[in-house]
């Protein structure tokens, strides 16, 4: 699994497509899935079966006053850590520019 992270609107999905992946291979906005209250490890294990998983970094900015929003940000951050641990390759896309944080890009 290739895990792609980065800020909002940074061009993460476009980057995955540029590697030759179809939309069916890509789980985008995976951080939203923490809202289903599933066990995070089980969620990460399941997502790790997909070719490409994308999470937007959401932990910057002010810590929200709302308890549920706070919980979401924390769970999203933890999910990203679990996904990065399971990934062969981790790429952070920033302003459309990819940076490999772990492993190597597959030759496709």
């Amino acid at each position: 699994m290739i895990f792609i992270t980065g800020p909002l609107f940074a061009g993460k999905k476009e980057y995955a497509r540029s590697l030759g992946y179809e939309d069916a291979d890509i789980v985008s906005d995976a951080q939203e899935r923490v809202k289903a209250q599933e066990d995070l490890t089980a969620l990460a294990d399941r997502l790790a079966q997909k070719p490409v998983v994308i999470c937007t970094e959401v932990g910057g900015g002010i810590v929200p006053i709302d308890r549920e929003e706070r919980r979401f940000r924390e769970q999203a951050g933890r999910l990203s850590v679990l996904l990065a641990q399971r990934a062969q390759t981790v790429v952070r896309v920033w302003c459309g520019l990819p940076q490999v944080l772990k492993g190597e890009l597959p030759c496709r």
Binding site: F9, E57, G60, G61, P64, W94, L97, Q99
Partner: protein
């Protein structure tokens, strides 16, 4: 040579940007912040003091970058893209829905008129997307501009704690 510098509040982007300029050249500073209120004026005064002595000639340009003719060829620091984008999106005289095209055309025009261009933009994309009103549209527009600038740049730098992280190009360029 085109350098793009992006960072959060007080990440050291201006100081790093100014360090790329040597006094004695024709240095132009394109200021984008309209002095709406006392806080704007205070911020403007702080930046003016910070760059004093570096030989910058200040050009105030709040909109329509593409219509700007530099007095002569030189090096240009444009600060900052977050302001210019807001001006184009929300000012009655701004480009509105054509803000992305207007700004990127403006940058292309500047690139044709100067030796070295440094553009400072803002990292505001790490706090989720639960925003009220038009904020998400602003983020989407600024992100598209940032990606367009990064694609054009010889050097793209993210600032963290006053230190540059090079995503494209390097300090040797």
């Amino acid at each position: 040579m085109f350098t793009l510098i992006i960072g959060g509040s007080a990440s050291g982007k201006s100081v790093y940007a100014e360090s790329l300029f040597s006094p004695g050249q024709h240095n132009f500073y394109i200021a984008t912040m309209e002095p709406f209120d006392a806080e704007c004026r205070e911020r403007i005064t702080k930046h003016q003091a910070q760059r004093a002595g570096r030989g910058f000639e200040t050009i105030e340009r709040y909109r329509d970058l593409a219509g700007l003719d530099l007095p002569q060829r030189g090096d240009v620091l444009l600060e900052d893209m977050g302001n210019l984008t807001a001006n184009e999106l929300y000012s009655p005289q701004g480009a509105g829905d054509r803000a992305v095209q207007a700004i990127l055309a403006g940058v292309d025009s500047l690139l044709g008129q100067c030796q070295n261009l440094v553009v400072v933009s803002n990292e505001v994309f790490l706090g989720g997307k639960d925003y009220e009103g038009d904020t998400l549209r602003y983020l989407e527009v600024l992100a598209e501009i940032n990606r367009g600038l990064a694609a054009r740049a010889d050097c793209a730098v993210e600032m963290a704690a006053g230190l540059p992280i090079f995503h494209k190009g390097g300090p040797e360029l």
